[in-house]
């Protein structure tokens, strides 16, 4: 009998072990030095005794994240079962660490990896670490919305044909905006070519539990998936899951994770993963049904205001928008003459409403089970008011276009190469050695090793003027940039 058939999803082994640990009233002569909070009364007052009392170190009854054999192992088996994975790893370094572990598990120095350019910075960071070479697939851009979409099947097939030596295909499932590629077909293409398929599911936890959702990476047969439990899954910030399929070697992936992961894994984070997994199994279906209903309602109401376009499943085109995450509430704002980032700022400054992000043409409001209809009414009404009070003629607004990057050097070579700092405005034609991105969403405009062009500089300048928060370069003002000598 396999272990799968005996799992009991009503259990939460780490949570239970911590409850027991609390009752045993163990005297701590180990780290952490705050000793269940007694050594730091201000922190205890702020976070609460319940919380600091379980901020403890690995020990026999609580297992060890670096080499799980008891309660953490059980929690991982339960998570694997819940997500339909061959194995699941609890991660405490954010989904960034899950993404990096996917890349480092499959790519080594000089290996090629096929990926869309609209990946999260953590993917390219992983390439800096391991020295793999990116082969970018141009994600189609929706002209009206100005957003990068999924990868088209033909484009992936072309990249595979042109780079048969690549080791992996990397897919966003979904993108920040909720756009999904044809993951099942891409997995099959990758496998037929002897490559791994890796999925960034930072925004896809709910695909595993909700009904009527796009296909999840594990169901599509992908080899690895990085799942941000702390986004739609409800666990604490910085907790994450790394899922693997049957083709991966559990021991090898564990070794890769241990290269960079802390040896003092936080039990606050791990217990939050354990409890959230149980909650998703028990209540996920109803919860996400409600979230979809709220998102659909908000879309209807926002579209009834006029000027705004809250987009949804009508965008599905069978290829670059193979599917769409119905819980995402993205709104195109350019037709009211305002950049997304301007609407984002107005919502916060004028109406005390904080949304997830605004870019050049769109805003994204993140909906979850924590939302109630009355707050949605506020959001919709505030958008109606912004239109009434601030609407402009939108003719001067820039549309966000995909700028095909010219990769001159691998991210690792460029990052470590001899470089000098020059004014950004004079850098056209140079090869960049660092990242430039708007955060959020944290998708690089420039990555190390790419040629800087005037189009890119114009885009950066425009984003700055509109109030986007730019990050990446050493120079915090983003007036100077490091280029290769």
């Amino acid at each position: 009998m396999s272990e799968k058939t005996i799992v009991d999803q009503s259990r939460a082994p780490i949570y239970e072990a911590l409850q027991n640990f609390r009752q045993m009233r163990v005297v701590p002569f180990d780290v952490p030095g705050h000793k269940h909070g007694k050594g730091n009364p201000e922190l205890t007052e702020f976070l609460g005794e319940q919380c600091v009392g379980i901020d403890v170190n690995s020990m026999k009854p609580l297992d060890n994240l670096c080499h799980p054999v008891s309660v953490i192992h059980e929690a991982e088996m339960l998570a694997a079962d819940a997500f339909g994975a061959a194995h699941a790893f609890l991660m405490v370094g954010g989904t960034t660490s899950s993404v990096q572990s996917m890349v480092l598990s499959t790519c080594k120095r000089g290996d090629k990896i096929i990926l869309p350019r609209n990946v999260h910075r953590s993917v390219i960071n992983a390439l800096v670490l391991c020295g793999a070479i990116p082969v970018y697939v141009n994600p189609e851009v929706d002209c009206r919305l100005g957003i990068s979409l999924g990868m088209q099947r033909e484009q992936v097939a072309k990249a595979i044909a042109e780079h048969p030596d690549a080791v992996a295909v990397f897919v966003n499932n979904p993108t920040y905006y909720g756009v999904c590629s044809d993951l099942r077909t891409i997995v099959k293409m990758a496998h037929d070519a002897g490559m791994y398929c890796l999925a960034d599911e930072a925004h896809g936890t709910h695909f595993y539990f909700g009904e009527g959702m796009p296909v999840s990476a594990m169901a599509a047969g992908a080899d690895m998936a990085a799942v941000s439990m702390h986004k739609s899954g409800g666990s604490l910030t910085q907790s994450s899951l790394l899922l693997i399929g049957p083709r991966m070697n559990v021991g090898h992936v564990r070794q890769i994770i241990n290269l960079t992961q802390t040896t003092s894994g936080s039990y606050l984070l791990m217990s939050s993963l354990d409890i959230s997994r149980r909650n998703l199994v028990q209540r996920g279906k109803q919860v996400f049904k409600k979230v979809i209903e709220m998102a659909e309602y908000a879309r209807e109401e926002i579209n009834a205001i006029g000027g705004y376009y809250a987009f949804g499943r009508e965008l599905i085109n069978g290829n670059s928008i193979y599917d769409f995450d119905p819980t995402k509430l993205s709104v195109h704002t350019r037709d009211i003459g305002l950049a997304g980032i301007e609407v984002y700022d107005l919502l916060r400054d004028e109406y005390d409403i904080q949304i997830e992000f605004g870019d050049i043409g769109n805003i994204l409001a993140y909906l979850s089970i924590g939302d109630r209809p009355q707050e949605l009414e506020r959001l919709v009404s505030a958008l109606a008011e912004i239109r009434r009070r601030f609407q402009l003629d939108g003719s001067g607004l820039l549309s966000q276009e995909y700028i095909d990057p010219e990769v001159v050097l691998s991210p690792q070579e460029a990052f470590y190469a001899a470089k000098r700092s020059i004014p950004l405005k004079d850098s056209a034609g140079m090869v960049c050695s660092e990242f430039v991105m708007c955060y959020p969403p944290g998708i690089p405009i420039l990555a190390p090793g790419e040629r800087i062009t005037q189009d890119i500089l114009d885009y950066i300048e425009y984003a700055k003027v509109k109030g986007c928060s730019l990050t990446g370069p050493e120079d915090p003002e983003i007036l100077n940039i490091n280029v290769l000598v």
Partner: protein, 289 residues
């Protein structure tokens, strides 16, 4: 038997009313609804443990939130009332023959049902043929209106529960948009006395000032509300609450009132110094912006 209803007016201040009987207790989708019978205040309606009205002092609130704008605006035909499921405001409004339509938007049908059963006098005019009741979120309802109303009365619970949305800038904005070009919005503005209430009052005043060209605050003494001292906001596109006040015309209507008088109308806009200071503080922040 020694049975008391208590409500915190501030973290360290409690107001208690002796209770004879607990007449009704229900939990709706939005809030906890209770009706008590008390020796001093008669029947008392509470929502989430906050006193909404008592039979003994409801006349003060309902008269002041109604007759002040009604005696300033020369011709009120279309009125929107938000909240007010107890029917008290509608009862006062229904006395004006000039009003042609009263739209009442209440989010919680259970409040109206409970009041119809246990506070029938208060709710007596909800069946007036001019009254149209909609059960909906008010933001959703008003968002669809433009240039519709002469008067909007916002009779909500305090800003710390399900009514929070009725104290926001987006709410005042859509009300502005729903009013005709000479429309008036009156809202319950809380109490200026205890710190928590005072801060909320300042926040909402600031938002109204930034939305309407004319925005004044007036006061009344309401024994069962926090500090016994309550404020109303008078926000208007055209009419000033004192300069455009037509006492003679209102007197000619011969409406008998127990709190409101035409002299008190003017007096209620004369505020104590500490309150003037609090209001000026946020008004200045606004004009410097």
């Amino acid at each position: 038997m020694d049975l008391w209803f208590s409500e915190f007016h501030a973290p360290d201040v409690k107001h208690s009313i002796r209770v004879n009987r607990h007449l009704y207790s229900g939990k709706s989708e939005f809030q906890q609804i209770d009706i008590f019978e008390t020796p001093e205040f008669g029947k008392v309606l509470t929502l989430d443990g906050n006193v909404m009205l008592t039979e003994r002092d409801e006349f003060i609130y309902d008269e002041m939130i109604t007759h002040v704008p009604m005696s300033v605006h020369p011709k009120v035909r279309d009125v929107l009332v938000i909240g007010a499921g107890d029917g008290g405001v509608v009862k006062e409004l229904a006395r004006y023959e000039s009003i042609e339509r009263i739209d009442l938007v209440e989010m919680d049908p259970q409040v109206i049902e409970a009041c119809r059963t246990y506070l029938p006098e208060n709710a007596s005019r909800l069946d007036d043929s001019r009254v149209h009741i909609t059960y909906d979120n008010a933001l959703r309802f008003i968002r669809r209106c433009s240039n519709c109303y002469d008067l909007i009365i916002v009779d909500s619970n305090d800003p710390f529960g399900p009514s929070e949305g009725y104290f926001t800038k987006e709410f005042y904005g859509i009300c502005f948009n729903a009013l005709k070009e000479d429309g008036i919005m009156v809202n319950q503005q809380g109490s200026p006395f205890y710190k928590h209430d005072a801060e909320a009052m300042q926040r909402s005043h600031k938002r109204i000032v930034s939305t309407f060209p004319i925005s004044r605050v007036y006061q009344a003494h309401i024994p069962t509300y926090a500090a016994g001292y309550w404020l109303f906001g008078f926000a208007s596109k055209k009419y000033h609450p004192v300069d455009d006040f037509d006492a003679k015309k209102w007197k000619n209507l011969h409406l008998r009132t127990r709190y409101y008088t035409t002299k008190l109308h003017i007096g209620s806009f004369y505020l104590p110094a500490y309150l003037e200071e609090m209001l000026e503080e946020v008004e200045q922040e606004n004009c410097c912006k």
